[in-house]
């Protein structure tokens, strides 16, 4: 018998991945797999995932949170992992969710790059009844460019001004003359190419009928343009601070309930 709430390890490609199963109050009507974002965004959003999972449990939704290869408590090194590993991890986690879900309908949720990877994994997963995209990365190359800009701003905060330009940084990186780290996470050229090649729009043919997009309260032109171009996607906005970016905002049970009520349940029921 599976305990109601259980931290555990499961296997993906021979690697031990950490999982946290959150059972529901009473029989589960739905079972949801959370796909996390990466780097600092994963750390910042961890509490929001926990609170959302707990709030969903009260609504008869069981869930599985897990750490992908090289992330959190799972095996592997971040700089040796990459999209092929993480795709396999999502598939293994989905199999674990399915094993535990019983008769419950299954759904997939991702945040930021985790959302894009969730969408990217659809053709390898059976029985995805709903897909929920929280502030997805629409274009991997543009996202990477934004990350480089954040690097320049960090440089400015430390030294008073930015001393480099993105094109020089990238040229040196692509020549293998410069290593790149984002918030201490090493970016390999292979990972850069993999993420840079991700386009959410290319995955839309696989989207299930119930696909929702949650934009957190700020202007996000690229996400808005993506949602506008796909009328079948139900796009909504939530007035909650950027759970992946703000280290000074610790979500509690109240935010968990809002994220569950406004950011998950509309697309499950």
């Amino acid at each position: 018998m599976i305990p109601r709430d259980e931290p555990f390890f499961f296997i993906s490609g021979g690697r031990r991945l950490f999982g946290a199963w959150q059972g529901s109050d009473g029989p589960a009507r739905f079972a949801l797999l959370f796909c996390h974002p990466f780097g600092e965004e994963k750390k910042s959003s961890h509490r929001a995932f926990v609170e959302t999972a707990r709030a969903l449990a009260a609504e008869s939704v069981a869930s599985l949170r897990f750490d992908m290869t090289g992330c959190g408590d799972s095996e592997g090194d971040f700089d040796r992992a990459g999209l092929p590993f993480w795709r396999a991890d999502i598939a293994a986690a989905w199999a674990e969710l399915s094993r535990r879900a019983g008769a419950a309908s299954r759904a997939l949720l991702g945040l930021r790059l985790g959302a894009t990877l969730a969408a990217d994994s659809l053709d390898r997963l059976e029985g995805v009844g709903a897909l929920v995209l929280w502030q997805p990365v629409v274009d991997g190359k543009e996202e990477f460019d934004a990350e480089l800009r954040r690097l320049l701003i960090q440089e400015m905060m430390t030294h008073g001004r930015s001393g480099t330009e993105r094109r020089d940084l990238m040229a040196a990186f692509e020549r293998g003359e410069h290593e790149l780290e984002l918030d201490g996470y090493p970016i390999t050229p292979a990972l850069y190419r993999e993420i840079g090649g991700l386009r959410l729009a290319e995955k839309r043919a696989r989207f299930p009928q119930r696909t929702g997009l949650l934009q957190f309260a700020r202007r996000a032109p690229r996400i808005e343009a993506f949602a506008k171009g796909e009328p079948s996607i139900d796009a909504r906005m939530i007035d909650v601070p950027l759970i992946w970016a703000r280290t000074d905002f610790i979500p509690g049970a109240t935010e968990g309930r809002r994220l569950a009520q406004e950011g998950v349940l509309p697309w499950l029921t």
Binding site: R150, T164, P221
Partner: protein, 88 residues
């Protein structure tokens, strides 16, 4: 666009994008935003994106200077220079 509205727009976008729990009117033109409002590098990025969207300007990579982001007035001064400059 009158100068006053640039300062006001800067304050409004800061409150909105940084989820500040104060009204724009409570921020003075010379408020030291890093010391007094806790603005960090993540927040500066949000401000930059907000300024680019609101005013149609673009920050060059070599234009990130700490002086620019010291107060709402210093940010507004930068916006004014960009709007008046040859490249707008």
């Amino acid at each position: 666009m009158p100068d006053k509205s640039i300062e006001q727009t800067v304050k409004e976008l800061m409150v909105e994008r940084l989820f500040l729990k104060i009204a724009p009117e409570q921020i003075a033109d010379d408020t030291e935003i890093m010391e007094e409002l806790g603005v960090d590098s993540v927040s500066v990025f949000e401000i930059v994106v907000g300024l680019e969207e609101s005013f149609g300007i673009s920050f060059g990579d070599d234009e990130f200077r700490i002086e620019t982001f010291r107060t709402p007035k210093s940010i507004a001064d930068y916006v004014r220079r960009k709007l008046e400059g040859p490249q707008g």
